[in-house]
């Protein structure tokens, strides 16, 4: 362990705000990139499901 106490770990010798804001932002970006497709997929399934119930038998084509 490089730091003597937990508070030294948090303040990082005065660089704490810089370091922690970068790590926080990174976490947000990674979470957003990972979770956004799930939201888009659920929306697609809802809308496409509604479209299919309304009309058209599926075409035989892949």
């Amino acid at each position: 362990m490089n730091f003597e106490s937990f508070s030294a770990f948090l303040t990082m010798g005065g660089h704490g705000p810089y370091v922690w804001s970068c790590y926080g932002l990174t976490l947000l970006v990674l979470l957003f990139n990972g979770l956004a497709p799930g939201r888009r997929k659920r929306r697609f399934l809802r809308e496409q499901g509604a479209r299919q119930r309304r009309q058209e038998p599926p075409q035989e084509h892949t």
């Binding site: 990082m12 990174t26 970006v29 990674l30 990139n33 497709p37 799930g38 697609f44 299919q52």
Partner: protein, 255 residues
């Protein structure tokens, strides 16, 4: 030149959106797990265990998120340039789907690299922003990403949009070596690369091993995000096919 038949079949299968959708499904939890473990280890090691830099103090710990973000920003662009070539030469529609899915993710990593660089620059260079060659070429990369995203939204016909995005992605590839060599070609504030193919890192192992771990973790999470996103694009664009409609019906009948 005659290409052997099994290779042709493999190529056609690789280009099939349905094959892609079904094959990649089981990879997702493994990629997520791998990414969380690698990045978690790299970040903990980098934040708590690695020694402080003798010049930069603790602000140097930003390297463990800044460098992976910058590497992925460029890797993602090279992926998109490759997809552009595959789309234009072989008309493989899966390449266009990856191009669409990867663009916002690449843009987010580029923005992350620029912002974490700015925050790191404040205590180290004494300024948030400098029109340094490395920083400027990364800003151009961000504009390329935004241009590709905007171009697709601006063009109504999907085939035309795909081709236009592919061309822009390929043309923009010239920026990648400029980013890479910017620190060697111009006098810059930006420090040279930590990892080089031909030399050992100038850092001690207690500093560069966590960096390697977080770069690998970023790669796993990047692939995880791009696969997920491409799978949704596959569903959206193939929604008129029987297999997608069956998939939607199956999903709808689940509780």
């Amino acid at each position: 030149m005659k290409v052997p038949a099994p290779l042709v079949r493999l190529w056609h299968r690789l280009g099939s959106p349905r094959w892609f959708f079904e094959t990649t499904a089981p990879w997702l939890p493994w990629l997520l797990g791998l990414g969380v473990v690698l990045l978690g280890a790299g970040a903990f090691w980098g934040l708590a265990l690695a020694p402080a830099d003798y010049l930069q103090g603790n602000s140097f710990r930003i390297i463990y998120v800044h460098v992976p973000a910058a590497i992925l920003a460029q890797s993602c662009y090279m992926l998109m340039g490759t997809c552009g070539v595959v789309l234009l030469v072989w008309r493989m529609k899966l390449a266009d789907m990856v191009l669409e899915a990867a663009a916002p993710i690449g843009a987010s990593f580029t923005a992350l690299a620029l912002i974490t660089g700015a925050v790191w620059g404040k205590p180290t260079w004494g300024t948030w922003w400098a029109w340094d060659a490395r920083v400027t070429s990364m800003l151009i990369l961000l504009f390329l990403y935004l241009g590709i995203i905007g171009l697709r939204q601006a063009l109504a016909r999907p085939e035309a949009a795909g081709r236009a995005c592919a061309i822009l992605a390929i043309v923009g590839l010239v920026n990648i070596p400029i980013i890479k060599y910017s620190v060697d070609w111009w006098l810059t504030l930006h420090q040279p690369s930590t990892f080089k193919l031909t030399e050992k890192p100038a850092m001690p192992p207690s500093m560069w091993i966590p960096l390697l771990l977080s770069v690998l973790g970023f790669y796993a999470l990047f692939v995880w995000s791009v696969l997920q996103s491409t799978r949704v694009v596959v569903l959206e664009r193939e929604r008129r096919t029987a297999w997608v409609q069956n998939f939607v019906t199956e999903q709808g009948s689940k509780p």
